[in-house]
């Protein structure tokens, strides 16, 4: 690749990190392993960057690479410590590749909807995600039950989902 192609490739790779993360996490719902597999995927994508044809579907190509990295992870780790079986991973991978193709709008809508949440809910989202807090740790910190924190997060997710759907629908209508 010439310097210009390299720059474009790196731009694509960085721009799609969040989608790759989401894709891998959907197949491997274990946050520690997700970071490791994303790291491996990035290395493989870079090593194979010569194979990527400019203008073709980068997300589809990157997801395929990520899928094989997930399979490699499943192969190398004890099956009983993993959540999904290989058949389910295969089904989810196929379904999610299409879903994530349009995730840019989803991400924008999500950011917008998070900013509209009540302050208390936004704080909980930050505790859960920005600080990497588990539901158990948040519950202990706030003196609440795990079930109550989990239920609150469920309500927030519901609210966000409704807001995202409305936002995307209104964007499409414009």
């Amino acid at each position: 690749m010439n310097p210009e192609e390299t720059e474009k490739f790196v731009q694509l790779l960085t721009a799609h990190q969040s989608r790759l993360y989401a894709y891998i996490r959907s197949l491997l719902p274990d946050s520690n392993a997700v970071q490791d597999v994303l790291q491996e995927t990035n290395i493989v994508l870079w090593r194979r960057s010569e194979e990527f044809e400019a203008g073709s579907n980068f997300v589809a190509w990157a997801c395929k690479v990520a899928y094989y990295q997930v399979l490699a992870f499943y192969r190398d780790n004890k099956r009983d410590s993993l959540v999904f079986n290989i058949e389910l991973v295969s089904l989810l991978a196929k379904q999610n590749e299409e879903k994530l193709a349009d995730s840019q709008n989803l991400q924008r809508a999500l950011s917008c909807c998070v900013s509209k949440l009540p302050e208390q809910s936004r704080r909980l989202i930050q505790q859960r995600y920005a600080s990497g807090g588990s539901v158990q740790s948040i519950a202990a910190e706030q003196g609440r039950s795990v079930g109550a924190v989990s239920q609150t997060l469920y309500r927030i997710r519901q609210l966000l989902q409704e807001c995202v759907q409305k936002t995307l629908a209104s964007e499409q209508g414009e």
């Binding site: 959540v83 879903k99 998070v114 208390q120 202990a140 039950s145 109550a148």
Partner: protein
């Protein structure tokens, strides 16, 4: 069996199940059920991916506090290294946060365990705490039936909260409300140690948990056993020769032999679950000897244990008129009403005999009522939209704070200072509540407030009607 076409109820539960899966709070059984649905149901997979993707994007955005480096100015080798390490930086940051929290939690748990063990191993000290007004309240005696206490100093003012300590009941029965959400009917003669708002020690006597339908954990220990319950109703008796019987009526409990070296428990920072734990299911009873060895199994027998019905609150004396909300000014209660700029609304219903709240609503009326230990409130309640907390309370100054006891009768939230012992509502129909509020409040109360609390989406609904306040013998 209808695997590919799940019922409407199953579909309604699915988002909740997925959310709990994302949070890692599913039970093993729920986890298996969820995986089966993912494997067999396209729609379930679709919804899972939709929710998981949104969650991951949220996690990515919130966790990504620093931008990725500008790789275009690096050599190919350097770029590969940089790409390889960048996610690790985020991961390491999270791990650091987690480790700090884990360390703090471990220290806190150790301090608590040391405190509990010190209390259990030195009853004299516990007695001293019993009369202290500075301790953290763990429980309240909310009803008595011919109760005679072992020694004069054990006679309790029933309207006072109990801090950790020992109760010696010579005869009669008492209903004890642990503030963690469990109610216990204790039958004398009995000796019960109150450890915390969700933990007690039965040295001798007979008791039954008569808790609510809500999820709450409770741990009962004896000289040789530890019984852990998650919302189960069960009976426990300890004889003078330390023979123990556990009878489970609803739910299940885990029974373990007490460890001979309790210090190890602290070092390992483990919950009270042991390798030789026995699960006792509803309908079963087990008799254990003084060493905690199982002697025999039999059917659970409720008749052997005190029940909540022994403590039912008396009917109103004569025809007590219900509150007419149409004659009162309905006002916002403290800062709670519409908190976080969320919607709040109310409507007077049933020709003034009822009040409907909606949103994130806390509303109050002035009643100017003297509350005595024998004051009872009676009302009908129904709810079509569950929120975090549905309930009521009294106040002197329309300023909500820790000192204000709230009676929660419905809702998924469990908060300190908000009693769970009456959180028993389910379904959507009217249900009558009758609560001896005089055990929790005393003196002149100016305000009575009602609430439908939902700080997240403000869609809680509460309906109260036929509210009567009266004195009972």
């Amino acid at each position: 069996m209808n695997i590919n076409h799940p019922s409407q109820e199953d579909q309604n539960d699915l988002p909740k199940l997925i959310s709990a899966f994302i949070d890692g709070t599913l039970t093993e059984e729920e986890s298996q059920d969820f995986l089966t649905r993912l494997e067999t149901d396209d729609a379930a997979r679709d919804l899972y991916l939709q929710m998981m993707n949104a969650d991951s994007l949220l996690q990515w955005e919130q966790g990504q506090t620093e931008p990725l480096p500008d790789l275009s100015c690096l050599s190919r080798e350097d770029q590969a290294v940089s790409l390889a390490f960048d996610p690790g930086v985020v991961s390491a940051r999270k791990q650091l946060v987690f480790m700090r929290f884990a360390l703090a939690t471990t220290i806190a748990v150790c301090v608590c365990l040391v405190g509990l063990l010190a209390m259990e191993s030195s009853p004299t000290q516990a007695r001293a705490q019993f009369d202290s007004s500075e301790g953290v309240p763990a429980a309240m005696i909310i009803e008595e039936q011919n109760a005679i206490w072992e020694r004069t100093e054990w006679t309790q003012d029933v309207s006072k909260p109990l801090v950790p300590g020992w109760l010696k009941l010579k005869s009669g029965q008492v209903l004890i409300d642990f503030l963690g959400g469990t109610s216990i009917a204790l039958q004398g003669p009995a000796e019960l140690g109150l450890n915390a708002n969700n933990r007690a020690f039965l040295r001798s006597g007979r008791l039954a948990t008569v808790g609510t339908s809500r999820v709450h954990d409770f741990t009962l220990t004896t000289e040789n056993l530890t019984i852990v319950s998650q919302s189960a109703n069960f009976g426990l008796s300890v004889t003078s020769d330390n023979q123990t019987e556990v009878h489970v009526f609803e739910g299940r409990v885990t029974v373990s032999r007490a460890q001979s070296q309790p210090e190890k428990e602290i070092e390992q920072d483990q919950p009270p679950e042991f390798s030789d734990a026995i699960v006792v299911e509803a309908g079963q009873a087990i008799v254990f000897d003084h060493a905690g060895q199982e002697l025999s199994r039999q059917l659970a027998d409720r008749v052997l244990f005190p029940s909540r019905s022994l403590f039912s609150v008396a009917d109103p004396p004569g025809d007590i008129p219900a509150l007419n909300f149409a004659e009162h000014q309905i006002q916002p209660y403290s800062f709670q009403d519409g908190q976080f700029e969320l919607p709040t609304d109310y409507q007077v219903i049933d020709q003034g005999k009822g009040l409907r709240l909606w949103g994130n609503a806390w509303k109050t009326i002035e009643i100017n009522r003297e509350i005595t230990p024998n004051t009872v409130i009676e009302f009908d309640f129904r709810c079509a939209h569950e929120g975090q907390i549905h309930g009521f309370g009294f106040d002197t100054d329309n300023q909500y704070g820790d000192q204000n006891y709230v009676f929660q009768i419905y809702g998924y939230e469990v908060r300190p200072g908000i009693g769970q012992q009456f959180n028993t509502y389910s379904g959507t129909d009217w249900r009558r509540f009758r609560i001896r509020v005089g055990r929790y409040y005393s003196g002149k109360q100016r305000y009575l407030f009602f609430l439908a609390d939902e700080d997240v989406i403000a869609r809680a609904e509460s309906q109260f009607r036929n509210v009567r306040i009266y004195e009972t013998p």
